[in-house]
Subunit: 228 residues, 2 copies
DNA sequence: ATTATATTTTAGACTAGCCTAAATTTTATT
DNA sequence: AATAAAATTTAGGCTAGTCTAAAATATAAT
C-alpha cells in the first residue's frame, strides 16, 4: 500500500509521461507537485526501492508496469468519483476536481466497483476523459483540438485540455458543453480566432487560445457514416 | 484545519467521554488509538494549543466547545457515509465501518450536505446511531439494552452496542435487524439467557452477552399508545 | 504517614516528507 | 575542447507523529 503522497507522485509522473512522452525530469515533477527538486529526488529513491519507477541518477524516470497499474487505478478512482459527484450529487464540472483529489485515495476495491456499477459503468468522466477499467485498460481517445480544424468543418465536442474552473465556467457561460455540435463558420487569419455555431444556433466568437483547449472529433469523416 | 490524526484523536476523546463520563485519561486514549501513552501526551499538548481540549498535566482531558463541534462533525460524516454505503451501494452493515473511517476525513462541506440530501436527511445510521445535523445537534437516544427487560416485555430494536463485524454478522444470521419487534418469552435465571420471538415468529435463544449488546425501546409503554 | 504501585510526562530517537544551500553531473555555448 | 549554465543530487535540518526508557506525579496499600 502507498501513502497519499506516494500516490500523488505516481499520478504526476504518469500524467507527465502521457503529456510529454518517454522519460520525465526531476524538475518537471517538482513543478507539477509544487515541491522542490531535492524533495523529488528523495521520493524517486523511495519509489524506486518499491519498484514503482525505473530510475537511474540524472537519467530521468519512467513508470514500471506496477507503477503504471497503480497510476491508472488512481486515475480510475478520480474520474469515477468526479462522475459520481456530477451525476448523483449535482456538482458542476468545475467543482469536482478538488474533492476528487481527496476521494481518489480512499482504499476499498468494493467501494469503487460499486460506484462504477451505481453509475452504470461510464466510459468517460465529466470532462470527457476516459475512465480506465478495473484491469487498468484505458481507451485511447482520437480527439483533436478544435484549433486544428478549418472553415466549414463540423465537429462534436468530446473533452477539454485545460481543466481549470475558470475555463470550465467560461465554457458553461458560452453554452459549450460535451456533446455539442460545433461548426466552424469562419477563421480569422490574423489571430486564428473562430466564429462557430453550437448545435446550429447563432454564431459566437472564440479565441484561438480557447479553441486550443477544446477537444473534438470531426463529424462525417467517413463517406458511409450516418447523416442525421 | 486538522490532520487525519488529530481528527481521530478528537473523535476518540469524544467517544470515551460519551461512554465513561466527564474526563478521560491518557491511558484510555492510548488504548483506543492503539498508540502509547507518550504519544498521546504529545498530541494532547498540540490539541490544547489548538484550543480543542481542556488539559492540565496529570488531570485528564475534556473537549472544548470547539473540540466537541469538531468531533460531532466527524461523526456526522462517518454516519452519513455509512448510510450512503448501505442505502446506495449495497454494503452490509458489517462492511461499512473501515471505509467510513477513511471517508469521514474528506474535507468538503458541499459534499456532505449533498450526501445528506441524496439520502433524504436520515436520522440514524445503519447501526441505529443518531446522525448529528449540520449544526452539530445530536438526538439523544432513550434506548436501553435488551438484557434489562423481563419476561413478556415487547420491544423494538433500535441499535447495537458492539459494532464488530462478527457480532453484526451473527445478528444477521439470527434474523435480528433494526426495527424488528422482540418479545421476551422466557428468561433463564441461571445465566440470564433469553428466549425471544422476532416479529412474532418461532422463538430463538440468545445469550445474556448478546442481549447486553442489543439496544431496544419498550413497546406500549404509554397506556394511550396505538396498538397495531 | 510511609511505602509501593500505577499513571503520566519527559527525554531522546526514529521515519516520512519537506526545505535550503552546496556539491556534482549533464547539457549548452563558445 | 574548454567553459558556462542548467539540472540534479547530496548534506544537513525541520515538523508531525511515533516509539522506548527513565523521571515525575498521583493513587493505593500498608
Ligand atoms: Mn479532476
Ligand atoms: Mn476529470
Ligand atoms: Mn462505524
Ligand atoms: Mn455506525
Amino acid at each position: 500500500m502507498q501513502s497519499f503522497t506516494e500516490e500523488n507522485y505516481i499520478k504526476a509522473i504518469y500524467k507527465l509521461i502521457e503529456a510529454n512522452g518517454n522519460t520525465v525530469s526531476t524538475n518537471s515533477i517538482a513543478e507539477k507537485m509544487n515541491t522542490k527538486a531535492a524533495s523529488v529526488t528523495d521520493m524517486l529513491k523511495k519509489l524506486y526501492t518499491k519498484k514503482l519507477i525505473n530510475y537511474k541518477k540524472y537519467q530521468g524516470v519512467t513508470l514500471t508496469t506496477k507503477g503504471e497499474k497503480t497510476a491508472l487505478n488512481i486515475i480510475r478512482k478520480h474520474r469515477l468519483w468526479e462522475m459520481f459527484l456530477v451525476e448523483k450529487l449535482d456538482f458542476k464540472w468545475d467543482e469536482v476536481h478538488d474533492v476528487a483529489e481527496q476521494l481518489e485515495h480512499i482504499d476499498s476495491d468494493k467501494l469503487i466497483e460499486q460506484i462504477d456499477k451505481f453509475l452504470n459503468y461510464p466510459k468517460v468522466d465529466p470532462h470527457g476523459d476516459p475512465i480506465p477499467d478495473a484491469k487498468g485498460k484505458l481507451n485511447v481517445t482520437k480527439s483533436q483540438v478544435l484549433s486544428k480544424f478549418n472553415k466549414n468543418d463540423v465537429c462534436v465536442m468530446t473533452g477539454v485540455v485545460d481543466h481549470s474552473p475558470s475555463f470550465l465556467q467560461y465554457l458553461d457561460k458560452s453554452g459549450i458543453n460535451l456533446g455539442i455540435e460545433i461548426q466552424i463558420k469562419d477563421v480569422v487569419l490574423f489571430d486564428r480566432s473562430l466564429q462557430i455555431t453550437i448545435n446550429k444556433n447563432t454564431a459566437i466568437f472564440i479565441s484561438n487560445e480557447v479553441a486550443k483547449n477544446i477537444l473534438v472529433i470531426k463529424k462525417n469523416y467517413k463517406k458511409n457514416s450516418l447523416k442525421v
